[in-house]
Amino acid sequence: MNFVTTVLPFLSSAVSLLFALLVLWRFMRKRGPHHLLWGIGMLFYAIGGFCEGYYGAFGWNPLIFRLWYLFGAMLVAAWLGQGTAYLLIRRRGVAHMLMAILLIGSIYGAIRVFSAELDPALMSGGLHTASELSGRAIVTPGVRTLTPFFNLYGTVLLVGGAAYSAWLFWRKRVLLHRTIGNVLIAIGALLPAFGGTFSRMGIPGALYISEFLGAVLLFAGFLRATMPLPQSAEAPQVSQTVTS
């Protein structure tokens, strides 16, 4: 049993599932739409990781592949980003409109993925050894073309939103724990995005390793942002000034 292709994705899935349950529990208490969408997004993350681990342990299964591609490759970033949209966009109507577009796009993506023709032999070729799941198995044209739109939308919102929040807190020199938490969230969201890019270029192991580290950092960032530091570390320090 290969650690990177089997154990690591299952670990990613477990971390993501735990994070999802925590966030959804927060939604049950506070009813913030961003909590609901982040929770759903992390469930997608967990599904993707599980499918990767399943493939590593048991081999090819078309249903597992389709679930992996739809939830793990196509939708996870967009739904996480949409949660950030609800958090940061003040005009609720705009956020609702983006949500409607995402929902329609997700349904369309699901139809295309589940109706696509697959060929697992295409996952091996060049630098790819077929030890990891790869979108190359999709034969039907136009399906993989959808993915960058979802991923770019989600990455810009999630990473950009976290970085923007971190900058706002840093600029005012307040709530250090939220600044740190948002930086961790931004880095955690970037890692799988780069991992997917490196995977597309044929670098083995990059996707699964980056997904695991990404899940850990996203979770750590969320915990950091929601739990203040000890008073002595959090309290702003008065800067040294020269009095004339």
Binding site: P148, A166, R171, I180, R200, P236, S239
Partner: protein
């Protein structure tokens, strides 16, 4: 009273702020934010290349 000003003072501090984070975070956070911004730009470029069929 004199406060230390940097070229990015307008973007990095409120005009009347006299507070700072602990020293490590004062220096580390802007570096992280710049790197994150660069990473976003790289990903946008790669995404564009994928959509246009260059990658």
């Amino acid at each position: 009273m004199e406060t230390v000003k940097t070229p990015l003072h307008r973007f990095t501090q409120r005009p009347t702020s006299r507070h700072t984070y602990p020293r490590f975070w004062e220096r580390a956070i802007p570096i992280f934010l710049v790197l994150i911004g660069l990473a976003i730009l790289i990903l946008l470029g790669v995404g564009l290349a994928v959509v246009l069929g260059w990658l």
